[in-house]
């Protein structure tokens, strides 16, 4: 064996090691949708239809993001296209229960977290962090300390999955856009600012765009489908600023109750008396 053969073997050894390293980090084979797109001849990149280019053009969503309050304000329609039946039940609800005592009657004031839609509307301008792996996006919100998972591994909702405030989200890539569908959301009744039935289906299109001020922005185009609530789907586009220097803090909703208790007097929260 000469030196050249040895060098070649060493190169092969390094290549093998890199391959096994990639496997150890859970890098999957070419994703299904990229293959499908390439097979269908759909252009997924500017210059190439190859699946590799499609994968390379995918943005990295990981990091900390802050809702862009200036751009997001007023996006949700003031007069949503409620169905006649929903209009009637909202009127009946208002006649019976409004005005509301927020301190007693508002579930978020009572530390029950926002649902997925309100969370993504970024009304409270708290940061959230995205952890990105090839099979899952995980959003860690500061407000209510919530966790939202978006599965990218092609799974379907398990049978008899119960509804939850974050729902069940799956995503697939369309070029550089991640398309996410969410179902199994906890229904919100006619008294809610944004009612939702068990049939509610939310489709989001996530992308990253350059931004002169913040470097980049995460764009989430949200379309809410719920024929029993709205006569037509509602679409809004939310933007979140890249915020690498921001830390997602701990959100301790019940801090006041705990503090009052520590100070030796029982809670002042009306419904805990």
């Amino acid at each position: 064996m000469n030196a050249n053969t040895g060098a070649r073997l060493a190169i092969i050894a390094v290549a093998l090691a890199l391959t096994s390293n990639a496997r150890a980090e859970g890098v999957p084979p070419m994703p299904r949708d990229a293959r499908t797109l390439a097979a269908a001849g759909v252009s997924t990149g500017k210059t190439s239809t190859s699946a590799a280019t499609a994968q390379a053009s995918r943005p990295d969503f990981s990091g900390v993001w802050l809702p862009d309050g200036r751009k997001n304000a007023g996006q949700w329609p003031k007069q949503p296209p409620f169905t006649p039946a929903m209009k009637a039940s909202r009127a009946a609800y208002a006649a019976k229960y409004l005005p509301q005592d927020k301190e007693v009657d508002d579930e978020n004031t009572s530390c029950i977290p926002y649902g997925m839609l309100t969370t993504m509307l970024g009304i409270a301008q708290y940061p959230f962090e995205i952890l990105s792996t090839p099979t899952q996006l995980t959003l860690l919100t500061e407000i209510f300390g919530s966790v939202r998972r978006i599965y990218l591994d092609g799974r379907r909702p398990p049978p008899e999955l119960l509804p939850s405030r974050m729902g069940f989200s799956t995503g697939h890539w369309e070029g550089a856009t991640l398309v996410v569908e969410t179902t199994h959301l906890t229904p919100e009744n006619e008294g809610s600012a944004r009612p939702g039935s068990a049939a509610q289906r939310i489709v989001e299109r996530f992308s990253v765009v350059p931004d002169a001020q913040y470097g980049k922005e995460l764009v989430d185009e949200i379309t809410v489908h719920d024929p029993t609530v709205y006569t037509q789907p509602i679409t809004v586009t939310m933007r979140y600023k890249w915020a690498p220097d921001v830390q997602v803090g701990e959100y301790l909703c019940q801090q006041d109750i705990w503090d009052q208790n520590k100070e030796g007097h029982p809670s002042e929260i009306p419904w805990r008396k």
Binding site: G26, I112, V147, M166, C253
Partner: protein, 245 residues
């Protein structure tokens, strides 16, 4: 030369194997949770604090506050999810009837702050010791308990955890967390305990919100109050209890 190539191969794969991937869903094994020693090495003040512990008034989770670190990691009642990303290990806890808790462990080479801001989940960094991840945590809020029976700690608490994965015959992948609690103000000697987690990729992760039970409780109180009001307006005040129904 072939021997050299094989040696390179072995070394490279050993390096790849040296940093295991903790990502996934893990179920704590309550049967293997190491019990606390019967004689905890506590200072007199910490011992008195523990003896006076009243869960109804002094347990944060009774008030929807967090378990906090390390109690979230030591509790054995629900699945945990670990997400490993470049420079980070994130542990997500969803204990039944409590809120989600998230521990962030930085693996990016940063050092621990000299004066960390106290927080319920602490400030954590991790370094590799072969196939073991060594996590150091400081800056834990003193309101957080170490255990549900009131084991306290001071602001001097420093937690060292050694995390590794073992393949056990019959059990498959097992995550072992060997935890040492150092606290010069509350403990007279370090306290060591271990937890075992089995690999459970299909375990369901349920959303849990502590306030939900309080909210439902409130709704029921409203409902009962409304019922009582309706009853008092339809039943004459003079009627004996139980009549008119």
């Amino acid at each position: 030369m072939r021997a050299l190539a094989i040696a390179i191969l072995l070394t490279s794969s050993a390096v790849a194997a040296a940093t295991p991937d903790f990502s996934g869903i893990w179920l704590p094994d309550p049967a293997r949770a190491e019990p606390w020693p019967t004689e905890l090495p506590l200072t007199p003040a910490a011992r008195a604090q523990m003896q006076a512990f009243d869960p109804a008034t002094r347990d944060p989770i009774s008030f929807c506050m967090p378990f906090g670190t390390p109690r979230n990691t030591l509790a054995t009642d629900s699945a945990i999810e670990i997400i490993q990303t470049p420079g980070r290990l994130t542990l997500i806890f969803q204990p039944d009837l409590s809120n989600v808790e998230t521990r962030r462990v930085y693996l990016d080479g940063r050092t621990l702050p000299a004066e960390p801001d106290p927080s319920w989940f602490g400030t954590s960094i991790g370094t590799w010791d072969g196939d073991t991840l060594v996590i150091e945590t400081v800056g834990i809020e003193t309101d957080a308990l170490v255990s549900g029976n009131g084991l306290p700690h001071s602001d001097a608490l420093r937690i060292v955890e050694r995390l590794r994965i073992e393949n056990e015959p019959g059990a498959g992948k097992v995550l072992i967390d060997e935890m040492t609690l150092h606290d010069s103000k509350a403990y007279t000697a370090p306290i060591v305990t271990r937890r075992y987690f089995t690999w459970a990729p299909n375990a369901p992760l349920r959303e849990s919100h502590c306030a939900e039970r309080l909210w439902i409780d409130k709704l029921w109180r409203d409902r009962l109050a409304e019922h009582a009001r309706a009853r008092s307006s339809t039943v004459p005040k003079s009627a004996p209890e139980g009549e008119g129904r």
